[in-house]
Symmetry: C2
Subunit: 342 residues, 2 copies
Amino acid sequence: MSNTTAPKRKGKQTAETPGVYIIGAATVAGEKESQGPFGNLYDLCDNDPYFGESSWEKAETKLQKRAAQMAATKAGLSMKDVELLIAGDLLNQCISSSFAVRELAVPFYGIFGACSTMAQSMSIGAMAISGGFVANAICGTSSHFCSAERQFRTPVEYGGQRVPTAQWTVTGSGMAALSNTCPPNGAPRVSHITIGKINDKGITDPNNMGAAMAPAAADTITAFFADSGISPADIDLVVTGDLGKVGMEITGEMLSEQGINLNGKYKDCGVMVFSDDQNVNSGGSGCGCSAIVFCAHILKELNEKRLNRVLLVGTGALMSPTSTGQGESIPAIAHAVLVENS
Amino acid sequence: MSNTTAPKRKGKQTAETPGVYIIGAATVAGEKESQGPFGNLYDLCDNDPYFGESSWEKAETKLQKRAAQMAATKAGLSMKDVELLIAGDLLNQCISSSFAVRELAVPFYGIFGACSTMAQSMSIGAMAISGGFVANAICGTSSHFCSAERQFRTPVEYGGQRVPTAQWTVTGSGMAALSNTCPPNGAPRVSHITIGKINDKGITDPNNMGAAMAPAAADTITAFFADSGISPADIDLVVTGDLGKVGMEITGEMLSEQGINLNGKYKDCGVMVFSDDQNVNSGGSGCGCSAIVFCAHILKELNEKRLNRVLLVGTGALMSPTSTGQGESIPAIAHAVLVENS
């Protein structure tokens, strides 16, 4: 006996995921993000970093829950019709996601991909839908500057100096609703997924995540083109998740060495999410970075046909303060999803 | 346009996953586990809690890596032929899994389901294979008594007193190799998955995880029977992941209230993994608990046809020391996979 479903596998890391539509998405963002280039695109912005809660962690929980609820509403789904929610975050034991989902009473997979979570959640969601196991899935993640700073670095009250390679963790959550049913007016499809491998080139500086993650991004982008047979000429945009200026430059160089020239069709969510005058050094970071840029800006460009084929490459640094303290270098991973109009 | 794949969805939380075979599995365990009822079934036991490494975290990384390598070998797969590895663990940012996978160079999804991870990883792996997205997947998890104690409670050197409801975190890793190809002599199939919802009944005592997780276990077991149309009479065993004696008793009572009587066909990995004389209070716990009991004992019973239809229900408590410190109760989840010979 063998599997009765026709293989959708393409090459070593990629698969086609036919029949998966992004039918809605929502974003919640903080004050600094609201002042960035996409400030007017976020569904909800709050200038209170606590979002009315008593701790940074509860604030992050709240913004993720609100994003999930709004994504369902915008997709025309009541929460009881949601068949799967996939989320993760940066906090220890992913508490933002678990506590956000707690009151939603939906089937839930918790995942951990650090800042690759947005792409990873859509990757798993696309398989679940395309394979016929669920009819829809809400996929997303969150991060919060203050909850991340005190967990990974020092409490913000310390006012620590930031090095030029440092990035600024985005306060925000993005959630995308995927469905097996295309709405009457059409919707962008998640048509391919490329599952990342861990890359670790020996970077040990936790203030230089871009350099740590760049090899993983280049590796997954290279795998996507090799596996799918799609050429860079057939893509409108490759957008990496939060590598920042430093990591983006390294990724561009590594791709050139592989003979992949994206010729101005390459951007990075970490570079895009804030303006140059917002004092964020190398750029934005955190799970919420690619989540809000994708769900607010990229999807709008796709829905309004200014972009028609975008490879979203979420990048994650899979270390912890404990591993760094024990002298370990930083393993990184990148997951890609191809989102296209057709 | 709609999805071209026939729906495999059954009811609100369950799906069929045809064509997924467990073609190999491996376990690594610590000294205390080796002295338990299944001590002679583990593939590798080491009496050194450091497993030759310099920290508890590196020890846990090593045992998870060895389990993955052995699972691949026992399944007749070289690591370069592995199309997906799905793993997670209890440590902050799931570093045991990320660092274990780092040198294996395989496509990787990190997940977080606390002690439900073994079942959750097989649940996602079964979808990925049954849907035709990958040909095989290695699914598993690990935990380590010492790395968990110092992260969640106090360093073991403190010699803290343990309350009667406390459980003992298993030092061990279990990994199962799933494939779309049935071996000539047959193999147990992962035939159904039930995706859990988060349950939180307000338990705030982190030393009584069994009580916190029991409602999630009962909820998922109830959903499985309702969704699948399979009756308890058609099952040889329902085995929950690490509820321990306290949680198992509560789960049994909650199921009875739902009219589900398993009549002696209900066991718990946390109760099974250690003997009564091993001084573990309510029983074993940790991601590794259901992983080693399933991969070493349950699979052997299935392979040797003493059991033919087993519902594995992994149970996870999704809190962190931070959430507990902030006065939150403990959200819990349970994921189920039906494993059967046929």
